[in-house]
Symmetry: D2
Subunit: 136 residues, 4 copies
């Protein structure tokens, strides 16, 4: 556990009141915890701007599992980069559609390239990428 | 399988050239497929603007697994909404940090509320929410 | 000027060091100022989620000024909502393209609708909307 | 005016129906125009990922015009980069707050740096950056 420091922050009373209202709505019971979280979020945004940063990501793919050989192509893509794909979760959405969530680790640029390749496969209807920095 | 229609689109030659360059870079082998994908993405954005829309989502949480009772609190939150949580994947990032990816189904507003509750738990360092529409 | 309050925040030493590094890079000379800014940004995001919130916005439109009657149509749209459009700035980008930045005040939903109408006009190539809350 | 090409796109009937519904809501009277717009938007996103790309941008600043010397500092920042700042529009929001919209041209990275410097000035409460590519 890292050493804890205590710093003082000056805020207009009105701003503080609005912030306390927001964090109560979000479920925070502690103001420091909320401020730490928005600081980490801001740091993470900055960290991920660098395509060379290390990161972990989830790619969400919605696809029609009747698409010919799509599952094979997805598996092949994942196995061509065995160091990066940590885990895959597959969910049946309805008769046609699946959601596949693929957790990957690597550099931001590599993750974006791999997510692009997966999304562009025929049969993949929607692809979303969510990256978080690992140096948090 | 739904009926396929064929529509004609007029584009400036230069715009078409730029688009063909982009989709080749992204890995598409077929222009129709790429146009379908950006149409679906645009529809999905619009669909998710409505807090009552049905959606599926992945919440990514980075947390310190030494945090007292955090795992218990996360499990309790998930079990208090048993219909929504489809699957959870847990990944060890390093000695301190875990990534948990929680797949949920429900209305956009409910998903956002649940993601907020999870993110605001003490010990959760980063929370990200990625929602996709299910009517794709 | 509103009353100033001083609150204490506990942070891990390492997190504080990373934050100090970021805000120095961004040009801040004062940590409280940086924390106030990210708090305001977070509040603003929440405020703008409500389509009924009051806001001020800039719409950026890139268009070909040779497009028949486009300038007239844009002007007409703006005059059909005289209370909302505060100011318009027009910039020549190159022989064909102009940038028009339209500053509007009103409710989030009204602003979004108006921005959509402008962007969908024939000849408008790109439209971007940037909304900020006015209760800051 | 660039040459117009006509390409055929295959879409599921249901997807086409949903898209026609969306673009009618957005105010489009022509399907090609709507598809051109989402193609340009997608190209623009890709273009702006490269920090060396040429772009035009609007920075929105909300600030308290009672802040000591803030207007001077903002002007000085703008004059230190005379080639980039195209135009500035100033709007009074209420007794305390102003909105300033600053239109700049340059490379993506330079624009981001300048926007960061402006936002971090003491007295600037909110800063937003909206970049569009100029090769549209």
């Amino acid at each position: 556990m890292s050493t804890i420091e205590r710093v003082g922050v000056s805020l207009e009373k009105e701003l503080l009141g609005q912030f306390d209202g927001l964090i109560e709505k979000l479920g925070y019971t502690n103001r420091s915890e909320a401020i730490r979280d928005i600081i980490r979020e801001r740091l993470s945004q900055d960290h991920l701007k660098n395509p060379q940063s290390r990161a972990v990501a989830a790619v969400l793919l919605v696809y029609d599992h009747h698409s010919t050989q799509l599952a094979d192509k997805l598996l092949k893509l994942q196995h061509d980069c065995p160091l990066q794909v940590v885990a895959t979760t597959h969910v049946h959405l309805d008769h046609h559609n699946c959601l596949e969530v693929i957790i990957m680790r690597g550099k931001v640029r590599e993750i974006e390239t791999m997510a692009g390749k997966m999304t562009s496969l025929r049969g993949v209807k929607l692809g979303r990428l969510n990256i978080v920095g690992t140096d948090v």
